[in-house]
């Protein structure tokens, strides 16, 4: 919640700052800036590059601020580390009261340094001073009565902390900690946790980076990082190609022959809405958890998409183009090769882009279920060991690769079908 509010504040603040900053620079008199109606005119809306840059920086800044990263100087308050102390008042069986101090050392176990036990004076009276150690983000039960004179008596109890009265199942706040009394009368001390995330939930950016460097050089679970990612990619490419090699001719056949269309329509229309992930159990039962099963799964994921896009490509041929080719003396085969196939390329490319995206998502999911190597296997395995930094690293890499695939497909589309949309 705090993060969301923080994010909205940054969003609004950045908007006004950029607005004020750009108001000093001379505005360009391009055509769009002369339009008076821009609200609702899609062509007048172009992404504000400053906003994009700030957006990315903001995500990293918030990430860093909430994880206590060393990358930025400003952080949200972290967990309390150091010594905290409070006093308590105990009442013994004869109704007398006495005060004693408790000193607690709160330390960060990640730092690897465990502080020495404090040496303290026991103090006077029947209630004696105590010390304890608590790890950050944890809470500790402090049995303050244990060393007190007569502390094991049934009627001996703690009645106040720092002068504030406390009874079982109530809590009070002292400096840097929350103290809760359990039903049996023991104090449970929770040092201030601050707003930062625990590394096990969200590690800092540099931890993720150093994990990337480490896994990049040492590998993970018997395979290098590049083998993990490469195997995922190979599965996607092989599965996608298999789907395209079968799907495109099938789509053409469905677009050109009534018998093919009638025969395969029910199959394609039925299989298309079935998410490939739902096929994983069946594929594992039939083909096992090896490469064969995964490639067949990806094949099925891309097959229907490629079939439908090829069919749509054939149906999209303007009849006048076909007629023109016939009256120019072309044979069926020539029309197929020179008119139908090139005309369907834009549709097939759209299908291929969608299909690659689906395949990439499916391969990661399939590897989550069972794999020896692969990006998905890497992150599911890391999550079992609570290596959140590796999980986040894996997710980022999966996203980057997915994005790169899409960009590659778009570039090759622009190169191979320049007439698309014209």
């Amino acid at each position: 919640m705090a993060i969301l509010i923080f994010y909205i504040i940054i969003f609004v603040a950045a908007f006004y700052i950029v607005k004020i900053a750009t108001s000093f620079t001379k505005s360009q008199d391009d055509f769009t800036s002369l339009k008076t109606v821009t609200f609702g005119d899609e062509s007048a809306v172009s992404p504000n590059r400053a906003a994009s840059i700030i957006s990315v920086i903001a995500i990293f800044a918030i990430w860093a601020a909430f994880t206590g990263s060393k990358l930025i100087p400003i952080h949200v308050p972290g967990p309390f580390i150091g010594e905290l102390s409070f006093s308590y008042t105990a009442m013994n069986s004869s109704g007398e009261t006495d005060d004693a101090d408790v000193t607690i050392t709160v330390y960060d176990v990640q730092s690897g340094v465990i502080p020495d036990v404090l040496d303290i004076e026991p103090g006077t009276g029947f209630a004696l001073n105590d010390t304890a150690q608590i790890i950050t983000y944890r809470s500790g039960l402090i049995k303050v009565q244990k060393n007190d004179v007569g502390g094991k008596d049934k009627d001996y109890k703690v009645v106040a902390v720092n002068g504030q009265e406390i009874s079982p199942e109530t809590e009070i706040f002292v400096d840097n900690a929350r103290i809760y009394m359990t039903r049996k009368g023991t104090l449970s001390v929770t040092p201030e946790k601050g707003w930062q995330m625990q590394p096990v939930w969200l590690p800092s950016p540099e931890t993720v980076w150093s994990r990337l460097v480490k896994v990049g050089s040492e590998g993970y679970k018997n395979f290098t990082l590049w083998e993990h990612l490469g195997w995922s990619l190979i599965r996607v490419v092989v599965g996608f190609l298999a789907g395209a090699i079968i799907g495109i001719p099938l789509g053409y056949a469905m677009g050109l022959s009534g018998w093919f269309r009638g025969w395969f329509d029910p199959i394609v229309e039925f299989m298309r809405p079935v998410p490939p992930l739902a096929l994983i159990p069946l594929v594992i039962i039939w083909f096992g958890i090896g490469e064969q099963g995964k490639i067949i799964l990806l094949f099925l994921a891309s097959l229907w998409i490629m079939t439908i896009s090829a069919r749509a490509g054939v149906s999209g041929v303007k009849i006048s183009k076909i007629h023109a080719a016939y009256s120019l003396g072309a044979s069926k085969w020539q029309i197929m090769r020179l008119v139908i196939v090139p005309n369907s390329l834009p549709e097939i490319f759209t299908g291929a882009r969608v299909s690659m995206g689906v395949c990439w998502g499916t391969v990661v999911a399939a590897e989550l279920v069972a794999a020896q190597k692969g990006a998905g296997m890497m992150i599911i395995n890391a999550s079992k060991f609570q290596m959140t930094d590796l999980v986040i690293m894996g997710i980022v890499l999966i996203g980057v690769i997915g994005y790169a695939i899409d960009i590659l497909m778009r570039i090759s589309e622009n190169y191979l079908v320049p007439w698309k949309g014209k």
Binding site: K318, S320, K321, H323, A324, A325, Y326, S327, L328, G329, A330, S331, Q334, L338, V339, P342, N343, L345, V417, P418, W419, K422
Partner: protein, 267 residues
């Protein structure tokens, strides 16, 4: 016998709701080699059906089309077609589009090249060989379509509203080009149009079709196409008889359209 002859063509087809449509009824027409004929009629009179039958894309239910003593059975290279926009192949440049027909015949590359150059010069698109067709304006695209059709050296050129999508100025220029090509190549041309003016200007013979069933209502023999070969089309429009003919045909078409509207209201 040289020339194109359309013998007693009838065309009827069943609709899904059980009724049937008589698109054409008993249409007969003899066209000598080298004639240019324009076909005019209200929408739904079967102009395009007639052209598709001549092109061989549709089989008539009765009658036959004979070209140079051969009965038309299907589409063929001796009957070239020019469509309204959008029939060029976007994935090919101008050269490959124009060379498409010769390439289908297996003409050697160098000859194709020569032919393309020559034809593009005739249609006024010299040096545009390497342009992509989607880079050209609508008028230029239709010039390419004309060149592509001529490259195949067909006996008959069938034009299905080839200038319909062009703006008025471009259209006028293209009408001049059609007449020039007709004279230079001596091809038989059948041109379908919606524009009465275009039909009167370009047709040596002008056929007015009547709807339901599609049939030839009236035929005119006109001098304007011959005049337009050597004269500016705007001058032709000022010549004797042009305005009268145009208005007469316009009123015929109007009458037919009114009748169609009336029938639609009755239903």
């Amino acid at each position: 016998m040289k020339g194109l002859s359309i013998n007693n063509i009838s065309m009827r087809f069943d609709l899904k709701n059980g009724s049937s449509v008589q698109a054409l009824k008993d249409v007969s027409l003899d066209i000598d080699e080298g004639q240019i004929i324009t076909v005019l009629g209200p929408s739904g009179c079967g102009k395009t059906t007639l052209l598709n039958i001549v092109a061989g894309f549709l089989a008539p239910t009765e009658g036959k089309v004979v070209l140079n003593d051969e009965v038309v059975q299907g589409p063929g290279a001796e009957r070239g077609m020019v469509f309204q926009q959008g029939a060029l192949f976007e994935w090919m440049n101008v050269r490959s589009n124009v060379a498409f027909g010769p390439r289908m015949k297996g003409m050697p590359k160098s000859e194709q090249e020569e032919k393309v150059k020559h034809l593009l010069e005739i249609v006024g698109l010299a040096d545009f060989e390497d342009k992509a067709v989607y880079e050209l304006s609508g008028g230029m695209q239709q010039r390419v379509a004309l060149a592509r059709c001529l490259a195949n050296d067909p006996d008959v050129i069938l034009m299905d509203e080839p200038l319909g999508a062009l703006d008025a100025l471009t259209r006028e220029k293209m009408q001049g080009l059609v007449l020039k090509l007709w004279k230079e190549t001596g091809k038989t041309i059948i041109l379908i149009t919606h524009s009465v003016e275009e039909a009167v200007l370009l047709g040596e013979r002008l056929l007015v079709l009547a709807p339901r069933p599609g049939r030839i209502h009236k035929e005119y023999k006109l001098p304007f196409a011959e005049m337009g070969v050597n004269m500016d089309l705007r001058e032709v429009k000022k010549s004797d008889g042009y305005t009268e003919t145009r208005d007469e045909i316009l009123s015929i078409i109007w009458e037919m359209e009114e009748e169609i509207m009336g029938r639609a209201e009755e239903n």
